[in-house]
């Protein structure tokens, strides 16, 4: 899993039926210091996340399909949690 920030929304009318009623969000993966890491990607939202929120994402098909509640869905990324806080032990 990775920590990311929701940066935008995506609207698609013509799509695979597994995406019907699903919310598609643009997320930017983050480094531990909250700087952007890599390219933004699309994730289905399984928890009601909103733009600007820091979230936990899975980048793997089976887990993403389960987050969407649909087996056999052609998805590879999903938001599975909204991050309240990350504590890093500076001594380690």
């Amino acid at each position: 899993m990775q920590i990311a920030r929701v940066v935008g929304t995506v609207v698609s009318t013509q799509k695979h039926r597994a995406f019907e009623a699903a919310k598609l969000l643009l997320v930017q993966p983050l480094n531990l210091d909250d700087t952007p890491r890599g390219a933004t990607l699309l994730a289905v939202d399984g928890v009601g996340a909103g733009v600007h929120e820091k979230v936990l994402i899975v980048l793997e098909g089976r887990a993403a399909g389960e987050a969407l509640g649909r087996k056999g869905a052609p998805v590879d990324a999903a938001i599975i949690g909204i991050v309240d806080a990350v504590d890093i032990d500076e001594h380690l």
Partner: protein, 89 residues
């Protein structure tokens, strides 16, 4: 999934039998600012996308799911045509 633009078609006559009836398109991944990012790749289409359209595609085995019960040996597939997207600063 990633945003991308369809930039071409790929014609393959001699191919895996499970690829029969599939459409292969060349896609260029895009950033949220519509800038090309990374190398173009070939993706199987399941939504009727055309050249010039902005789409999103899935990577991995899941790209074959729209063709169930057939399992084409693909690792990238277009699963939606994007109407628009909006990035909040």
């Amino acid at each position: 999934m990633n945003l991308a633009r369809v930039i071409g078609t790929v014609v393959v006559t001699r191919k895996d039998e499970n690829l029969a009836q599939t459409t292969l398109l060349l896609v260029q991944p895009l950033t949220e600012a519509r800038q090309p990012v990374g190398r173009p790749l070939v993706a199987v289409d399941s939504v009727g996308a055309g050249v010039g359209e902005e789409v999103f595609f899935v990577r991995g085995k899941e790209a074959s799911f729209p063709f169930h019960p057939v399992e084409p040996p693909v690792d990238a597939g277009i699963v939606g045509i994007v109407d628009h997207w909006h990035v909040e600063a």
